[in-house]
Amino acid sequence: MRQAGAYSGLVSASMSGRMGPHSLPLARIKKIMKKSGDDVKMISGEAPIVFSKACELFIQELTKRSWMVTMQGKRRTLHKEDVASAVIATDIFDFLVNLVSDESSNDNLAETPSEEMETFRS
């Protein structure tokens, strides 16, 4: 961090208006990154910025796919089950399968967390 308040500056003042406002708070992204593993020690300033864009793309894609499920059900309200269906139907979202099915089966308290989950715990 070169200057104090670099991130808060970015968060509140949207990066000098050049790259446009970021829709997602960079400091929070950085926290999530840090929690992803013990190996994550240092994160360059640009990484959260890349992620803010990437997360936007991710949300857009998952939302669009979920919406298709909603429409197939002739509904207008996107529900979490639609998101779950979209996750299951899309290969690259395999890493989310446990997450969405855990949510729908909350009674499985004894269920062992998947490897992926464990990796993400700090």
Binding site: G5, S36, D39, M42, L57, F58, Q60, L62, L96
Partner: protein, 158 residues
């Protein structure tokens, strides 16, 4: 870890396997979702919460991969290129291209100082002697491109 900054309590409580996970704000997530959907679409709160969790998982997933690479190469800092690389490796190659361009543009603009806080006088006017007040001629920042053609997500296996 009593870390509950920004964590949304409700769905994280499933027996304690996921501690209070850090989440991106539901308002921001919801807004991105809304913008991509038709105007008459509605989104349930649970769907937004689910999306929050998915995004956090996405960040962790990519970061872990990037960080492994850094470890193997004995580098301590995960940088933007590592993130782009990890995306490509993990199946998000459609994102990798646009992200690299975004990253390069960022690097061009910001040079070595990723923190030119000049404007908006949000109080912080830095001690940077050279506040390059470059006119934002990039009206089109990638951020605002709605749903564009350059990154078309054709629902391939649907």
């Amino acid at each position: 870890m009593g870390d509950n900054i920004g964590a949304s309590a409700s769905s994280a409580d499933d027996g304690g396997f996921k501690e209070q996970e850090q989440l991106l704000p539901i308002a921001n997530v919801g807004r991105i979702m809304k913008l991509i959907l038709p105007p008459n679409a509605k989104i349930s709160k649970e769907a937004k919460e689910t999306m929050q969790e998915c995004v956090s998982e996405f960040i962790s997933f990519i970061t872990s991969e990037a960080s492994e690479k850094c470890k193997k190469e004995r580098r301590k800092t995960v940088n933007g290129d590592d993130i782009c690389w990890a995306m490509g490796t993990l199946g998000f190659d459609e994102y990798a291209g646009p992200l690299k361009r975004y990253l390069h543009k960022y690097r061009e603009l910001e040079g070595d100082r990723p923190n030119n806080q000049q404007e908006k006088g949000a109080g912080s006017n830095s001690n940077t002697e050279d506040q390059k007040e470059e006119p934002s001629s990039y009206g089109t920042d990638h951020h605002h491109q709605p749903n564009n053609q350059s990154m078309s997500f054709r629902p391939s296996d649907f």
